[in-house]
């Protein structure tokens, strides 16, 4: 959704098109993930009222460097987690999520190239910190899933792989894990704005649908 907001605002026409295409890819990925959740029979089912996101997505980005950092760091963190699921032992996820990785490869190439150009250090540091918060602390749920074989990588593995993919060395941010919300996977309160959430759930579009009957 945040990607798509840049489909007429990126620095070049090609970047506009890529932003729109990557946004569409990611919407497709969320549909696959929600579909997989239903198939796996999660305890409560996907609860739209409990929508969670990293703080980076709370508000629209006002600078292209924020797009680049999200694309290069957060999208890569997401891809690595998907890779951990594809190489894990949950059959539904192993088979369903492979295509995502093929598509995410092009998101990575886009992010890596723009990172060289865009001088996005500040935005990248924030995205890096939020990616680590999203992975969570060592010894928590992710490492538990690793022990059960559901995920192929531990938190330490995920951090190392993200570091390799981003290619830059960052100092370890001091994350106060006592403030970490395990369900929302972030340390700061807040969330996405109501209007964007309505759009994500299709509520905004419903206003334009003809009345049935």
């Amino acid at each position: 959704m945040r990607d798509a907001e840049w489909c007429i605002a990126a620095p070049s026409l090609e970047a506009d098109i890529a932003a729109a295409a990557m946004g569409l890819d990611d919407i497709g990925h969320s549909r696959v993930l929600y579909g997989s959740l239903r198939e796996l029979g999660t305890a409560d089912g996907p609860d739209e009222g409990a929508y969670s996101n990293v703080p980076y997505l709370d508000r629209s980005w006002t600078d292209w460097t924020q797009f680049v950092a999200a694309n290069a760091v957060l999208d890569s963190a997401f891809s690595i987690m998907i890779e951990a699921l594809v190489n894990g032992n949950v059959e539904v996820l192993r088979s369903r999520l492979k295509k995502m990785l093929q598509e995410e490869r092009y998101h990575y190439l886009h992010g890596r190239s723009w990172m060289r150009e865009a001088k996005a250090a500040g935005a990248i540091e924030q995205a890096w910190r939020e990616a680590l918060e999203w992975f969570g602390p060592e010894g928590a749920d992710v490492d538990g899933f690793k022990r059960e074989g559901k995920l192929a990588y531990s938190v330490v593995d995920l951090r190392r792989m993200l570091q390799e993919r981003v290619g830059e060395r960052f100092p370890d941010p001091a994350i106060d894990w006592t403030r970490w919300d395990g369900a929302r996977r972030r340390t700061v309160p807040g969330g996405i704005d109501r209007a964007t959430l309505d759009m994500l759930q299709g509520l905004a579009e419903k206003r334009y649908m003809p009345a049935s009957g």
Binding site: P11, S12, E14, I17, A20, Y106, L109, H110, S113, K119
Partner: protein, 74 residues
């Protein structure tokens, strides 16, 4: 924050694709990008409307032209 709106140095790449193995590759368009990474991302995003079985890009400056339309072969 400062960044160049258009890249300082870019290359043109021609994009080739085909829908079936039995078809020849054909040129479907072109992209302009500062490096191969971004050219690949742009080509895939821009020309993804068909279910191509193959897509490739070639830097235009790597193509050696023997002759063009209206030019003599010899």
């Amino acid at each position: 924050m400062a960044y160049s709106r258009v890249h300082a140095n870019v290359r043109e790449y021609d994009v080739f694709a085909r829908k079936a193995r039995v078809e020849p590759l054909r040129q479907v368009g072109s992209v302009v990008a500062p490096d191969d990474d971004l050219a690949m991302a742009y080509a895939r995003a821009t020309y993804d409307e068909e279910r191509w079985v193959e897509m490739m890009i070639v830097p235009r400056d790597a193509v050696i032209r023997l002759w063009g339309p209206g030019e003599s072969e010899t």
